[in-house]
Symmetry: C2
Subunit: 579 residues, 2 copies
């Protein structure tokens, strides 16, 4: 088969090498992930403001499509916390939760997100994701975790509290405190306490009770399922619905429906920016975990193909009653550790969830929403990593600013403003830093051929010769700074006859910088000085040769700084003392 | 006096050293600039859509304020072509030309622009101007020249044609072609032809007629005044107003009035962005010419103080019936070449213009607008430099894209969209370039201590050792690219045991890049390889020591690449042939 077909439809490649060992591993991995995914899917659907079944639907067809098109053997695709929160924020702007318009707008958002991811993949624009710096991502994920946890406190307390920013959520909780529902609170707190305990202690407890490590592992992953089963049974047995405990309620007992995402122009316009942000954030989360897991098996994944696979998964969600999905971090790690080897594990997970949608949905009626809220709170609190603030503070001011502004803006202004502010700030800070590059005046370290900063080392210098090393590529934002710096250095030094620009750290000179060099050359000439270059890199020199700068240059271009010093050393002209 | 006072009020500094020689030079410079400025001021006021006298008012108090606060001895402040065009575009959005609201909005624009410049100066934000790259500035100025010239063709043809973009202007001219006014056209074309001739030929002609070079120079600068005088006399003598030639008409015979710029919130909001763009463009034009001229006399100008002086000048314009002003290129060069030495020349120019406002305004009644249009066309065509396109094309694709998109967007979408698109594109192109840095695999040039690209040189390499030199600082936008590049290089090469990152061209490593290095270190470790660094710069090493990366690093940090090679050379492990 043609390699480009194999590249675009990876299943044709790994499918040919599929065998019984891999099948066994994939089946076991799929079982564990399915157990984990059932309560998660329901919970994240509620987080997104949608009916619980949307979570199951968003996990079935999208996973199947990823199986065909994806390149990661471990990535588990479906609803994830941060994307669900972003979905709630975006769709909440255009429709009220619980209405048909809300569910329809979620389909539109998934369709737009799918189209954007697909387009980015086909146009090979995956590099755009790299403009999300690590501090921005980690700040955004931490702040999202706090927002998500806070948004669930209302369900645990049994009160109605909305809001899409931390101040509004807290105000809503504060206003509702009088209406706390004690039975709901007992279920929510009980479930949360059990889940916190189960995360760390359930596996050792099962092993002490005699279970083998593999079984204990599966049992520990089933912690949320246990919480769901127990609280559902309590709600049914004790008739908690009549006591005012909010339950998930009627869920259709069916496979995912075929749905058409509505695409009127004004809705598309309103959801375009949120869809772009969801796509990029989702892609970054997904690709990070996929690459990490692939490297452990010395495999490579193809980012552009991943964009295509995630795009198809989101389009699948849009046409089958879902909402935006991506590769989730924790479930992918679980999938990997459970031994899944190929995307086929995803297909088996999809089958498991389809069975759940058909067989288990009647039981879900009695599931308390507070249990799902507790599941979410316990899951997302592991996203909150405020240690990132401390690490950034220790490392550099600009990284600290990026992470703290992202956290602050996300909490106070919301998810979209947060990620936008973080990206804009980190780009501005980068531009600011490169616009004021480090420039060192250098001299020869005696007895060597090394030139070093005159402020850090004891070096030889010459009164008529100034050598400056610029530790940055020259481009428009620092061109004028360089002009100012050089002229300020020489304007009051009557001795100077030659200025050498040591170009060893200059990787590029753009047209603005070239014109600044021409201006520097011209102005130095008017002061009777010569401008020289030394140690210019090959590609930079190739570029300079295409302009007429080298013919205007009043001085010379030296291969090495040693040659420059040898050629330019002269005594200070008589009568012009060094100032 | 305290140095900070002298720095903030430079007149106190140069004023103490003022003497008779300087006075003479300044007076002669002022005379020439005044002669040049009278028709220019009137013309640029009309270009901005304002009554002619606004041009005189905008030249008097602003110049006086610049005299007190400015640092350039040659800069001539007043209305300039590009800023007048931007004023027309901005104010035209909020009021109709010719109304009282229009003139009032121009005052508001000048006030906002003054406040922005002042704030930038006090906050030392002058570096923001460096984000306007040379290709963007030159493209913007060229396109503005074309727009300005086209906008004047209607006056020369004697028809009404508006529009703020080239397509609309051309459509307006096309629609009005039937109404061409022959007498107006004769005056306009005659004036334009004379001015084109006078620019190059008047000075030699006067010298042939026996004038000394200095007198001939003054005479040549008076060319526009001659065109004004002759066409005004014709309009008066032949009663051209009755024949339908549009004249400047009634101009108040008075010193600048005191005006209060209206500042209602919604007007401020509408004009804030245009005011910012006008401030930055005006500052860039002004500082460029001021620095060029200062360097010729080995003087320095202070960019932050220039911002303050220009801010005060614009506030002055706002309170005395003017509109946004800045330091003009051609008039400053004239001022410099005429011998002006200090900002006092500006004060004398202001006095000259004040006399004109009081004494000459009755004569201006008969001045045909077509003459002023011709003055503008001849002046701005020298701004159009399409050679910049060719130079950028020869030099680099990204500079060519920046200049051509700026020209296209300015002509088709207007001045504000043009400059915004240019700035955004040049920043994106810069980020794109740095996000895919040049990475070279290097080896030792035999018999030397130099390491060079294995693709360009015959070098020694070792099967177990890969050395990569990254020619760019490491930051968030290229961190993932580096991860991908390194892992792609080694994943299929079973021989490799050691990967050395040669850091000689790395000027900074931000937190994102540090985390990528940690990931690279971790993943290489999982494949049984070690990551080493060599030739790390001092400031980068200082930063790394603040993190715990160095303690995690599986390999070592070598002072020089020679040491790295000496320590890491080993044969390929048996049975693992190089692939």
């Amino acid at each position: 088969m043609h390699p480009s077909v194999l590249r675009r439809v990876p299943i044709l490649d790994w499918g040919r090498r599929y065998n019984r060992d891999r099948l066994t591993n994939d089946l076991i991995g799929a079982l564990i992930v399915t157990i984990m995914l059932i309560p998660q899917s329901l919970a994240y659907a509620l987080l997104a403001g949608l009916p619980a079944e949307a979570g199951l639907y968003a996990s079935i067809v999208p996973i199947l499509l990823y199986t065909v098109l994806g390149t990661s053997g471990a990535l588990a695709v479906g609803p994830v916390a941060v994307v669900s929160l972003m979905t709630a924020a975006a769709v909440g702007e255009v429709a009220a939760s619980g209405t048909a318009g809300y569910a329809a707008a979620a389909l539109t958002l998934a369709a737009l997100s799918g189209a954007i991811l697909l387009a980015m993949g086909l146009l090979r624009l995956g590099f755009l994701a790299s403009f999300l710096s690590h501090p921005v991502i980690s700040g955004f994920i931490s702040a999202s975790g706090i927002l998500i946890a806070t948004s669930q406190f209302g369900q645990i307390l049994g009160i109605s509290a909305g809001g899409d920013t931390l101040p509004r959520m807290l105000a809503g909780l504060w206003a509702g405190l009088g209406g706390i529902h004690p039975v709901t609170l007992a279920i929510g707190l009980g479930a949360a306490a059990f889940l916190f305990w189960a995360r760390k202690r359930l596996k050792p407890a099962l092993m002490r009770a005699g279970a083998g490590p593999r079984l204990a592992d599966i049992g520990a992953k089933a912690g949320p399922v246990a919480a769901v089963v127990v609280t559902t049974a309590l709600a049914w047995g004790l008739g908690l619905e009549d006591r005012g405990v909010r339950l998930v309620g009627q869920v259709p007992q069916a496979l995912p429906p075929f749905t058409l995402p509505p695409l009127p122009l004004d809705l598309v316009r309103q959801l375009a920016l949120p869809a772009l942000l969801i796509s990029v954030i989702g892609f970054v989360e997904s690709i990070s975990v996929a690459q990490t897991l692939a490297a452990r098996r010395r495999q490579r994944i193809d980012p552009d193909q991943e964009l295509i696979a995630l795009g198809a998964a989101n389009l699948g969600a849009a046409f089958t009653g879902g909402f935006p999905v991506t590769g989730g971090f924790s479930r992918s790690v679980v999938n990997f550790e459970a031994g899944s080897e190929t995307p086929a594990a995803g297909a088996f997970t999809a089958i498991g969830l389809a069975l759940a949608a058909v067989a288990l949905t009647p039981l879900i009626y009695f599931l308390p929403k507070a249990t799902l809220a507790a599941t979410i709170v316990v899951a997302v609190l592991s996203l909150v990593d405020l240690g990132a603030l401390r690490r950034a503070w220790t490392y550099s001011l600009s990284d600290f600013l990026a992470v703290s502004v992202t956290i602050g803006a996300t909490l106070i202004l919301g998810v979209e403003a947060g990620v936008t502010a973080g990206v804009a700030l980190s780009i501005l800070l980068f531009l600011y830093k490169t616009s004021r590059p480090h420039i060192a005046e250098v001299g020869l370290v005696p007895g060597t051929q090394h030139f070093r900063n005159i402020r850090r080392y004891q070096v030889e210098t010459h009164p008529t010769l100034v050598t400056l090393r610029v530790d940055e590529s020259l481009y428009f934002a620092n061109a004028r700074y360089l002009e100012d710096y050089i002229l300020a250095r020489v304007v009051n030094d009557a001795c100077v006859r030659d200025v050498v620009l040591l170009c060893s750290a200059i990787n590029e000179i753009d047209l603005s910088a070239l014109e600044s060099l021409e201006a520097i050359n011209h102005r130095l000439g008017e002061m009777g000085m010569h401008l020289h270059l030394s140690e210019v890199k090959g590609p930079v020199m190739d570029r300079l040769k295409r302009s007429d700068f080298l013919s205007q240059l009043s001085g010379r271009v030296f291969m090495s700084q040693m040659e420059a010093v040898a050629a330019l050393t002269a005594p200070c002209p008589a009568g012009k003392a060094e100032t």
